[in-house]
């Protein structure tokens, strides 16, 4: 009956397929690499590149693309199952998520020429992207971006700077948001141009973050790109950015698979940690905290699958997607903050210590968690979206 809170046999089989793949391909060595430096920096190694190639060969870069474009045509629910399994195992999926997102944007909004030029190379892994959106003075206010692209004959010539440019140190191309008409209203003079990252004039500078993950500041100085690297139509870039961000949000913030794993690990750790003659799990206050985390996690899980169902019904889950993003990102902080406190003095042990929980994954996730709350549209903006678009509250400005 509808609704159904059970997975179908096909969905279970899909979960098992992903799980079996990870059991084989995501080796202990790769796990150690992720644990040691964080998954984005880990992406630069040869072993990780090989892991990505295996994902590619499965056709999973085009998981949610139409079958007519060599995609697998997976539903949003199946995408979520996939993400849960990857996150549960701490397996990096950012390159695949970006490829899927960009591919989907090109398929929906690009020209036929764009599709012919990029889709096959994305799906076979030949082309991978860094997302060039934010600039030092254009973060939440993305439409303030200043990076300039000017026509010179058949080419584009690009000057400017991007920041928070993750994976730019090993991606092949930049999905670059640029201003092509400085005289148009802010949202109407922006275009998307695909820029090969080995073009002369590009400098990628590392920005190391608290979590150990690397991101980048990328500089463009008279970078020359062929005219047909423009995506869709000139000055319509804001539409493509918005669409890609919506796809990214659905992709990146739906799953709480890693949080399920951490809570399971935390419960087990409380069972086996004895302090002052009782296990932590025996303490009523610990039980209440764990139970509250279980409630929250269940809510995160339900919101994510509800959002996926809306996507599968053909509607854009603007409000619901914002709810998932806000709730799950804040729960990530709560779970890791509480978890470290619950373990008493043991909670302060970090990755590299033999007694650190989950090999340090709990404390590492606490350090990653801020990004979930302000990244891909701050939670403040998401709350505005829920109130204004979902419930019709008036908009200031």
């Amino acid at each position: 009956m509808r609704p159904s809170f059970a997975f179908t046999a096909e969905q279970e089989a899909w979960r098992q397929e992903v799980r079996a793949f990870l059991a084989e391909a995501f080796t202990p060595e790769l796990r150690a690499e992720v644990g040691a430096v964080g998954s984005e920096e880990a992406g630069a190694s040869a072993a990780m590149a090989d892991f990505r190639r295996k994902i590619c060969e499965k056709g999973w870069y085009g998981l949610n693309w139409p079958e007519s474009y060599s995609g697998l045509g997976k539903s949003a629910v199946e995408m979520l199952i996939f993400a849960e399994e990857f996150e549960r195992e701490d397996a990096p999926t950012i390159e695949r998520a970006i490829a899927s997102t960009i591919g989907l944007t090109i398929l929906h909004l690009g020209t036929e020429h764009n599709k012919q030029m990029w889709i096959p190379k994305i799906s076979n892994g030949e082309v991978s992207f860094a997302l060039g959106y934010s600039e030092p003075d254009a973060g939440t206010d993305l439409a303030a971006l200043q990076t300039r692209a000017e026509r010179d004959g058949d080419d584009w010539v690009i000057n400017g700077q991007k920041i928070w440019n993750s994976v730019a140190h090993y991606a092949t191309h930049e999905w670059l948001a640029v201003r092509t008409d400085p005289d148009a209203p802010r949202h109407h003079g922006i275009s998307i141009i695909v820029v090969p990252l080995d073009s002369p004039g590009i400098t990628v500078q590392p920005l190391l973050t608290w979590s150990g993950l690397r991101t980048n500041a990328t500089f463009f100085e008279d970078v020359r790109v062929p005219g047909d690297h423009l995506i869709g139509e000139e000055n319509e870039g804001w539409t493509y950015v918005t669409a890609a961000l919506a796809f990214e949000r659905a992709n990146a913030f739906g799953s709480a698979g890693h949080l399920r794993r951490l809570l399971d690990d935390l419960v087990e750790r409380c069972r086996t940690t004895t302090i002052d003659r009782e296990t932590l799990a025996e303490r009523p206050e610990v039980q209440m905290r764990l139970a509250e985390l279980e409630v929250d996690l269940e809510i995160a899980w339900l919101l994510a699958y509800r959002t996926a169902a809306i996507v599968d019904s053909g509607r854009v889950p603007e409000t619901e997607g914002a709810m998932v993003k806000v709730f799950t990102s804040e729960f990530e902080t709560k779970l890791t903050d509480w978890g470290m406190e619950l373990l008493d003095l043991y909670g302060q042990l970090a990755g590299g210590d033999p007694d650190a929980m989950s090999g340090g994954r709990l404390e590492r996730t606490y350090r990653v968690a801020p990004v979930g709350r302000f990244g891909a549209g701050t939670n403040e903006i998401q709350r505005d979206i829920i109130a204004q678009r979902g419930w019709g509250l008036p908009r200031r400005r």
């Binding site: 934010s134 003075d137 973060g139 939440t140 206010d141 303030a144 920041i163 928070w164 920005l207 190391l208 973050t209 608290w210 979590s211 991101t215 004895t274 302090i275 002052d276 003659r277 009782e278 025996e282 303490r283 009523p284 206050e285 610990v286 905290r289 902080t333 903050d337 470290m340 406190e341 619950l342 373990l343 008493d344 003095l345 909670g347 302060q348 042990l349 970090a350 990755g351 590299g352 210590d353 007694d355 650190a356 404390e363 606490y366 350090r367 801020p370 990004v371 709350r373 302000f374 990244g375 701050t378 939670n379 403040e380 709350r383 505005d384 400005r397």
Partner: protein, 392 residues
């Protein structure tokens, strides 16, 4: 009833702030964060020369004779600049030593601490026993004219910087049981320290003792009313917990200042992000939380300084401050966005300390449970039938 600081106290806080901001800069904090000892002898010398190391110790031993309240005001300033943990460790140790005999080692130790010649630390928690003395296993036994210390302690703060470790150990039941405090040279034969890797990047270690020789006059016992040192250790823990709260208040306040400054300067949508209500509400919540934590902490410190029962007030302060400091750092990250997570930015230095102080001397749940007991509620206690095990 007058919830206000005196002129003298304000002056004391101001001079502490000026000294600490000058001497304990973020670049020094970063350098010490990656050093094995986490300790700066130069900084220690400056603190001692300005009489801050023994500020609350008796004048007869070279201290300044101020109260725990004034020491708390210093710790608040220390929290702002992330003063290395050797200071809190030594202060905690001094609170233990000043209440224990015999007289001669006590005087000598306190004089050396006040002069800035000694860093001290207390080894209390064990692998399966964090704060209940009845369950600790580390013990001493008497052989001829000395004692042998055996056992393992965990989470010993500043293990490599310390000149002396105060090891809380069980005494043989044959002489009445209870606990003593053994003064141990960390370099002595039979002492092994294995460093922990901690979130706060503050040096801590598991330290084991294998029949370590402790001379008779290096085994401190209780005051005149009892031979058992535990009540003294327990009282010092209470003081150290209140001081930890003061450190947390100072740290959280500094994070709030940095954040308020940032949102006034950072522009998006053509205006400071601090002009948005959503941002203002975060800042308001941070400020309210810090101000509340400050007066809860001051009350606890005041009761300790006045010699009044303070368990209730200390637990209220720590139960408030433990989530306060972490929450303030989390909101600070939220308002800084990407700028706050690059390691060049100092914010994460406070975020790390917030987590370390959250669990030190017990987190929120530990103190809620203690408070429930203070409220007369029937708090379940763990079975202690074999509490004397390990007492040798």
């Amino acid at each position: 009833m007058e919830l206000a600081l005196s002129e003298d106290q304000l002056l004391l806080a101001k001079s502490a702030r000026e000294l600490l901001e000058r001497e304990c800069t973020p670049s020094l904090v970063r350098a010490l964060r990656d050093s094995p000892t986490g300790h700066s002898t130069e900084l220690w010398r400056v603190l001692a020369d300005h009489d801050w190391v023994g500020v609350a110790l008796p004048e007869s031993q070279g201290g300044s004779g101020a109260s725990i309240f004034e020491l708390g005001l210093f710790m608040e300033q220390a929290g702002r600049v992330l003063l290395p943990t050797t200071y809190a460790a030594t202060t905690f140790a001094a609170e233990v030593i000043r209440r224990l005999g015999p007289d001669a080692p006590r005087r000598e130790l306190l004089e050396r601490i006040c002069a800035g010649d000694m860093v001290a630390t207390v080894a209390l928690a064990e692998r399966e026993s964090v704060r209940e003395p009845a369950f600790m296993r580390t013990h001493v036994r008497q052989v001829d004219d000395h004692w042998l210390l055996t056992g393992e302690k965990m989470f010993v703060v500043a293990p490599t910087a310390a000149d002396v470790v105060l090891v809380v150990a069980r005494r043989p039941t044959s002489i009445g049981g209870g606990h003593a405090v053994a003064l141990v040279d960390p370099l002595a034969k039979g002492v092994t320290a294995v460093p922990h890797v901690t979130f706060g990047r503050d040096p801590q270690a598991a330290v084991s003792f294998d029949e370590v020789v402790v001379a008779e006059d290096k085994l401190l016992v209780g005051d005149t009313s009892s031979d058992d040192a535990w009540p003294v250790v327990d009282a010092a823990v209470l003081v150290a917990t209140a001081l930890e709260c003061a450190e947390m208040v100072g740290g959280a306040e500094r994070v709030l200042e940095i954040t308020a400054e940032y949102v006034k300067q950072r522009h998006q949508f053509g205006r400071p992000i601090g002009s948005f209500q959503a941002v203002q509400h975060h800042v308001a919540d941070m400020a309210t939380s810090v101000e509340s934590g400050r007066w809860a902490t001051y009350q606890a410190l005041w009761r300790l300084a006045e010699g009044l029962p303070a368990r209730r007030e200390v637990s209220i302060a720590k139960a408030w401050c433990s989530p306060m400091y972490t929450t303030v750092t989390q909101l600070a990250h939220q308002l800084h966005g990407g700028a706050g997570i690059v390691i060049e930015h100092d914010l994460h230095l406070w975020s790390e300390r917030a987590k370390a102080t959250q669990v030190r001397f017990g987190g929120r749940d530990v103190h809620l449970r203690a408070l429930a007991g203070e409220m007369g509620l029937p708090v379940r206690v763990a079975p202690s039938s074999d509490a004397t095990a390990g007492g040798a």
